[in-house]
Amino acid sequence: MTESPTQSKSLLTPFNLVAGLILAVGAYVAFLRFSSGLAGIGAVGDSAQSQPWGMLISFNLMCGVPLSAGGFVMGTAVYIFGMKQYRLVVRPAVLVGMIGYFFAVVALLMDVGRPWRLPYPMVVQYGVTSVLFLVAWHVALYLSTQFVEFSPAVFEWLNWKRWRKVAVAVAVGAVIFGVILSTLHQSALGALFLITPTKVHPLWYSPFIGLFFFVSAIAAGICMVILESALAHRYFREKVEMTTEHLDQITIGLGKAASIALAVYFAIKVIGIAHGNTWHYLASPIGHWFLLELLGFSLLPCVLFAAGVRERRPRLIRWAAGLTVLGIILNRLNVSIITFNLNLPAEQRFQFHWKEVWLSLAVVMAAVLTYRWAVNRMPVHHKHPLYKTVH
């Protein structure tokens, strides 16, 4: 196991103290959630029959999964389309994807409860008529696939040469399998809403909602890779091998891909409005909210990406990536919370409860700390000295 110089640093940093506070209160809320018997998630949140999904599903899972799409997007680019210039960002992208999916599952368990029933869709009661059957199988398989994809880094860290050889041999197959799974379950998360045409607002509901979720997940994945590589370059400087010039080149290339993905997303969203003939809703207050999401968080970043690529301005591309990530979060919250059952009286609609928001925040913080732990120890942003030539 490679010792890291960062391990000898003091643990009492401002970030660690804030993280510790968030996790400690989060652990207490999680205890309340699991010790409340049949009250379940209702003990810490505001989920009800009219609003079954709260923050843990709508934010941690619905937003966490598309923001973890970087692994499959970069895997497709490098291993299937042969874009070898992005090879250095594949491993970080897979790590972010794996951690994102893992903690999305943790949030799901917090919300659903009864973790011992997790294997039910696989072995006990399939429920093949539900989209959730597909989501359950795909998330389980894809999380396992991502472990396989990332395992060479783990085996390099542990110095298990024989296991690393096996993992590298199956990695490309795992990437291809992962691409198939991702394509289907990213869209399946949108397809979950196909059974709620009277609950999701007509501006967000469409028979093509699965396609919307899939295309926006591609943009989200690319943007997360842009942001993650920039943040790692800044905060894990001693662990990152890539030069600033190389990072800028990669950022510009990814910016071009993100602008195309967002242009496609914008086009299909407008086509969705035309298909449902919901133009008249655009003149209402909720229509303005929709336009803010569509123009401010997908068309504007698309234009910023294009300008950044054309003018060779990586900083502008990073700002556009941040805007896109916010847009994806806003879109998923709009579909599953903000405009869901909008016709109901205010008191029957979802109210944010501090305990659930805190639990949600604690899950995100646990993901961030896991990422930091892995990057500080494993060869994620740099090549392991023993495998310099074969990384």
């Binding site: 195309i260 086509i271 035309a274 298909h275 003939n277 690529v309 054309r310």
Partner: protein, 42 residues
Amino acid sequence: METTKTLFDFMTYTKGVTYLLAVLFMVGFTFFWLFLVDRDKK
């Protein structure tokens, strides 16, 4: 839209607008692509 009375009218109208928009976007993408890669060629 006010003139649509049947589902057939509605489908014909929305499909028509959808196809027109799809063609417009495809033409627009060509220019968008040229705008993106213009500097690469130079």
